[in-house]
Amino acid sequence: MKLNVNGRAMSAPAPEETSLLVFLRDFLHLTGTKYGCGEGSCGACTVLIDGRETRSCLVKAASVANQRITTIEGIGGGHLHPVQQAFLDVEAFQCGFCTPGMIVASTALLAGNPAPTRTQVRDRLQGHICRCGAYPRIVEAVLLASRVVRHA
């Protein structure tokens, strides 16, 4: 199986039913994308497929062979993305397990809406769970990143 991940062609032999999440984690060893529930309820496995926020646990790897996949490892293109920097500045995490999914989803949010309101951020991230309860800081981080991106 061959995929375009973070701008690179990457391949590994994998069973046909392998989900994109498991392919990334257990075949390509890109473990920044996390398994939280396997049914799209938590958002920990979020990646971008052609720029669109997608739950990688619900997608077969074989079905996205011709699309561009971006994971947390590739989101900053070798640097910290402003969203990553903002999560760091605000310390918008505790255990950090939901953080890659939150960050990836937030980059898609800002790409489509560079100046979201607080409510828009909350609504858009409603499908993501942070069990540690860092929600208020996550909203602050996305709003901070939004200001940074607009003034850059």
Partner: protein, 620 residues
């Protein structure tokens, strides 16, 4: 722990920077590049222990935080600092590490008033790895030749195997009560496991854990009262007595009695548990997300009939614990399978296994009987907790006649530690009951509490809470003394069209000398939010043989839309020892919300989670 003199002597004897005591592992080890490696048995779960302990060493060694590297939770390298639970890192381990570092420096302990690194908002020392996805969690572990295991389990909570019809192909291990499929990748392991046909004979629960009336009655019928002679200084005394509560109650003119109920709930950490076991020369090394590496080592040794010296647990920061990652179930499975397979084996539980194979926060019944005498003072207080536990039992209020009792019971399902454990139950019950007294005596709830409290620290917290001006609309409050901290919350709510919305939380906490305000705010906020789940949504459901809650879609936890505006006020008391803070704020959420709903509607919630659909259509 040896005293500082013996440490110095050890240092001189060695003529080097490393501390080696008779039988005691190294605590601080210098490197030639000016960095220091520090060893602690504590674990980082997201509560910030790595950063706080790093600060403690940096403070006393007088070096920047960046020059300290912590090795945590490795039973092969680290001293046994106790498990990571009960918010003990800050009150016990930070002082121990400070002392060790001060001894190493050869100077006195830095008083909190002179702190330059402790007490400041130092950022999470691993934050960059967290935001880049490079931070390794137990489920991320991979070693060469590693097999992924998928355990074949009964669909019932408890069952005995009747028949097993495995595929002809290899890869299936059946040893004792453990059946598992193993393969080089998890997809193949799951496929193999799916081909195993099993039949099970289910065992019924002794009482249906979801039949709350039956379970409460069963708890009471099977309960054992606390022993009369309690060790003085017990951390969670199951009995606190003063005066004669029974006599005072029977003589009282104004009495109240109320019952409260909490169901089983699940920790639901974001990362289900996982363990990687590697055998070499008759010894096993297990990498896992345990909160308790040393007790887990003993559990594994016992289960595999090994001496503890042949078991090494290396704790890896898990994606959340909340009291749920104490027991070595997953570790034992990995070790058993790897011994048979002759290769490293990783067991990573699915979300369904995390729900159904882990233990739960105990359900509990709390009964309170009390009386108020002349001048609105509490006179008698009898508080009985059945099954959920002793934490949070002792009342902070000045009451001359008290009997606070934890009655032990058997349990129909596996239960165990949880963030603040029984303090959630006991504080919910106490603060709801106190609120009823305020209403019955036509006293403002804040005034009623102040009228019955002399603890100066808690009074200062309540004074600070009153400084905040609430918005329009109903609100409720709660306060307590927990793990030596003084905390209070006011919840402002809105009830419209039969739905409850949390508008604003104002929290005040005094935790002695604050070790890291950035982390403390994060912990307090997170604990308050976790409390929303227990108050409004969470309950693990069962039928007579089976746990019905098996998927995240079946189990509502707090999400973005549930979160009110939250203000956290912290009182820094550098003159007092630092109190643990990772848990206690969770106890405030349910009673403050319940009391706000009572203020709005006159309806008293006595069971968690609150049945919001029972609210009237319009608030008063």
């Amino acid at each position: 722990m040896p005293d500082s003199l013996s440490r110095r002597e050890a240092l001189q004897a060695l003529g080097a920077g490393a501390f080696l005591f008779a039988g005691a592992p190294v605590r601080i080890h210098p490197a030639e590049d000016g960095t220091f490696t520090v060893y602690t048995g504590k674990v980082e779960l997201g509560q910030g222990s790595r950063t706080e302990l790093t600060q403690a060493v940096a403070e006393e060694l007088r070096v920047p935080v960046a020059r300290i590297r912590l090795v945590m939770g490795d039973t092969g390298l680290c001293p046994d600092d106790g498990g990571t639970y009960s918010s003990l890192t800050t009150p016990l381990n930070v002082p121990a590490i400070r002392q060790a570092a001060a001894d190493y420096r050869g100077g006195p302990l830095t008083p909190p008033s002179d702190w330059k690194i402790l007490g400041t908002p130092v950022s999470n020392v691993r934050g960059r790895d967290i935001v880049t996805g490079a931070y390794p969690y137990p489920t991320d572990l991979h070693v060469d030749e590693m097999l992924h295991a998928r355990v074949v389990r009964a669909p019932h909570y408890r069952a005995t195997l009747v028949s097993l019809d495995g595929p002809a192909a290899g890869g299936i291990i059946h040893t004792g009560d453990l059946i598992a499929a193993m393969a080089a990748d998890p997809v193949s392991a799951a496929r193999l496991a799916g081909n195993v046909k099993t039949q099970w004979s289910p065992l019924a629960f002794p009482v249906n854990p979801s039949d709350h009336a039956a379970l409460a009655a069963w708890f009471k019928a099977n309960s054992t009262p606390p022993p009369e002679n309690i060790q003085p200084g017990a951390k969670y005394p199951p009995l606190t007595r003063r005066g004669d509560a029974a006599k005072a109650l029977s003589a009282a003119d104004h009495r109240r009695s109320s019952h409260f109920w909490l169901p089983y709930i699940a920790h639901t950490p974001m990362e289900p548990r996982a363990a990687l076991a590697i055998w070499k020369d008759g010894a096993v090394e297990i990498h896992s997300g345990t909160q308790t590496p040393f007790p887990s080592r003993a559990e594994v040794a016992k289960a595999l009939d090994l001496p503890e010296s042949k078991v090494r647990i290396i704790a890896i920061n898990p994606g959340g614990g909340f009291g749920g990652k104490h027991r070595a179930d997953c570790e034992i499975e990995a070790a058993r399978l790897a011994r048979i397979a002759g290769k490293p084996v990783k067991v990573a539980w699915t979300r369904e296994e995390e729900f159904t194979c882990s233990y739960h926060r105990p359900a509990g019944l709390v009964e309170i009987e009390s009386s108020v005498g002349a001048h609105g003072k509490l006179d008698a207080w009898v508080h009985r907790n059945y099954n959920s536990g002793a934490p949070g039992l002792p009342t902070p209020y000045d009451t001359p006649n008290v009997s606070c009792e934890f009655h032990r019971t058997p349990a129909p399902v596996r239960q165990g530690p949880y963030r603040s454990l029984a303090a959630v139950a006991n504080v919910f019950a106490r603060e709801s009951h106190i609120d009823d007294w305020a209403a019955a005596t036509r006293t403002d709830p804040w005034e009623f509490r102040m009228h019955n409290l002399t603890d100066a620290r808690l009074r200062a917290v309540l004074e600070e809470l009153r400084e905040d001006k609430p918005g329009q609309g109903p609100s409720g409050m709660a306060c307590t003394i927990e793990k030596d901290a003084r905390i209070a919350l006011r919840a402002e709510v809105e009830i419209e069209g039969g739905t409850l919305r949390l508008k604003r939380f104002v929290f005040v906490g005094e935790y002695g000398a604050i070790v890291n305000p950035l982390n403390l705010r994060n912990q307090v906020t997170g604990a308050l939010i976790m409390g929303i789940g227990g108050a409004l949504f969470e309950e693990v459901r069962f039928d007579v043989t089976t746990q019905r809650t098996r998927r995240l879609a079946d189990y509502r936890v707090p999400r973005f839309a549930d979160i009110p505006e939250i203000e956290v006020h912290l009182i820094d008391r550098r003159d007092l020892p630092s109190a643990g803070a990772g848990e206690s704020a969770i106890t405030m959420t349910a009673p403050a919300i319940a009391n706000a709903v009572f203020a709005a509607t006159g309806q008293r919630f006595t069971r968690l989670p609150f049945r919001i659909d029972k609210l009237p259509g319009k608030s008063g």
